[in-house]
């Protein structure tokens, strides 16, 4: 005899496919959901279906969007001369939260990770090069490319690989700085971060 009614089993199975959700958590979430008012559950189901059916990747920057090209690519107030290259769409949201960057973006959808079988061909690098070709309608005036990949080993390798490809194109290629977390004690910072922070010191 099955442990759960079939609809509950199916819900647990589907939730268990989500990243970071194990069988116990899937069961807890499923039991929570079936205990909520129908309107609340319908709203969640509707949001899931809506998001999946309406969201696409922007054909210019490859960020997640509901209109193509995305609003970040078509906003006339943004600076066309500066392009920020990030690994994932969530990095765009992180940078936008700072309110400091007003240029355009390009999402690579990953980083070079040879051991995981992710080479340059797995990323949106060809598309980035296309955007930098002179006379391209998308972004004809890019002067600077900011490499804002993660400071992990894979992110560093991706930045180095891109720098090698982009420098001959005559654009200014920069890398985001490394350093101490704001409000952090020097004593608690690891040696690698501290070494990088010393390397990247600046005049005050």
């Amino acid at each position: 005899m099955p442990l759960y009614p079939p609809p509950l089993t199916r819900l647990i199975q589907e939730l268990g496919k989500l990243p970071g959700i194990g069988p116990k958590t899937a069961q807890r979430l499923a039991l929570y959901l079936v205990g909520r008012p129908p309107a609340e559950v319908n709203a969640l189901a509707g949001a899931l279906v809506d998001a999946r059916s309406k969201l696409v990747y922007c054909s210019r920057c490859f960020n997640i969007t509901d209109v193509d090209p995305c609003r970040l690519c078509t906003d006339p107030r943004r600076d066309d001369q500066v392009l920020c290259v990030v690994e994932e769409p969530r990095d765009v949201f992180a940078l936008e939260r700072t309110g400091e960057f007003r240029g355009r973006y390009h999402v690579l959808h990953g980083a070079i990770s040879p051991m995981e079988g992710l080479g340059p061909e797995s990323l949106k690098i060809k598309e980035l090069l296309r955007r930098l070709q002179p006379g391209t309608a998308n972004s004809p005036q890019i002067q600077e490319v900011i490499l804002a990949t993660n400071s992990s080993v894979e992110g560093e390798a991706t930045a180095m690989y891109l720098a090698r490809l982009l420098k001959p194109l005559g654009v200014r290629v920069t890398r985001i700085a490394y350093g101490l977390p704001v409000g952090g004690d020097l004593d608690y910072v690891d040696e690698v971060t501290l070494s990088r922070a010393l390397e990247g010191r600046r005049s005050v």
Partner: protein, 281 residues
């Protein structure tokens, strides 16, 4: 004791869940260890730096049923320069992956541990400035690594007919060349090879390559700093022969090889492609 300290090198590190990492360590005393590092992807975690690939550190781990968990890290050497140069990064990735596939959990391999540390230190202090140098270091590592695992190729003569190889040259007495065949465990002379046409093709080695391999094998203490770069054709032949040899014993696709080969301008295919890949002996 559930909690223990060990010196180890990070072979591989991949994201796990929301902010954790799953790490493969090669320890001097414990062999390969798979461990989780909770919160290691959060910027302020004290585990961030110690869970990056190629880092050499002292780890405190807590034994788990399947996976251990890292609770503290004291960096010994971050090998920071390996991250700053593409060739070094690609070579270190390849080497770490080969070590990951050829070592067993909880089976200490102190020779492999020392060899890996030696190569990482060389890449950290003297990053290869040319693909030829990287190729030489790769082949040097592969030859010594095979030896540490007990698969040292026999290079003194034909492993089938026992005809000796002249000490100062790579040519056989009939001057027809020598082939490196992993399934046979070393060099095979042309006549033995022609008598067993169904065997794996192997790689034909020139004089310079055989002498280079024999010189490396005779090193009392493996020293990558003393490795002289072979000529370009010899370097490529060395790479083809040893990649084929490693491929035979790893018996698994090394995923980091295509990227390394792209940077080195070599082919990622192991061996000369003359026949089907041999299965593990």
């Amino acid at each position: 004791m559930k909690s223990y300290w060990t010196d180890a090198v990070v072979l591989r590190s991949r994201p796990l869940g929301e902010a954790d990492r799953l790490v493969s360590l090669l320890s001097d005393s414990e062999g390969k260890i798979r461990a989780t590092a909770r919160g290691a992807r959060r910027g302020r975690s004290s585990l961030v730096a110690g869970t990056q690939p190629f880092v050499y550190a002292r780890y405190q781990l807590f034994r788990g049923r399947e996976l251990d968990s890292i609770t503290q890290v004291q960096l010994v050497r971050s090998h920071l320069a390996v991250r700053d140069q593409l060739l070094s990064f690609a070579l270190a990735s390849y080497v770490a992956e080969v070590v990951d596939w050829t070592t067993m959990e909880r089976q200490p391999v102190p020779g492999v541990f020392r060899l890996l540390l030696t190569l990482l230190a060389e890449l950290d202090e003297h990053p290869p400035r040319s693909p030829g140098r990287a190729l030489a270091l790769e082949s040097w590592f592969e030859l010594h690594h095979l030896g540490e695992l007990g698969y040292r190729p026999q290079l003194d003569g034909c492993v089938l007919c026992h005809r000796p190889l002249l000490p100062s040259a790579g040519r056989s007495t009939d001057n027809s060349g020598w082939w490196l065949q992993p399934a046979q465990g070393g060099l095979v002379c042309s006549s033995c090879r022609s008598q067993s046409p169904s065997a794996e093709p192997g790689v034909l080695l020139g004089d310079e390559v055989i002498l280079c391999l024999r010189r490396w094998q005779q090193e009392a203490e493996p020293d990558p700093g003393a490795v002289a770069d072979p000529s370009q054709p010899a370097g490529r032949q060395l790479a083809a022969a040893l990649r084929m040899y490693v491929d035979y014993y790893v018996n698994h696709t090394i995923r980091s090889l295509p990227f390394l080969a792209e940077l080195m301008g070599t082919t990622a295919a192991a061996g000369d492609g003359g026949g089907p890949r041999a299965s593990r002996a």
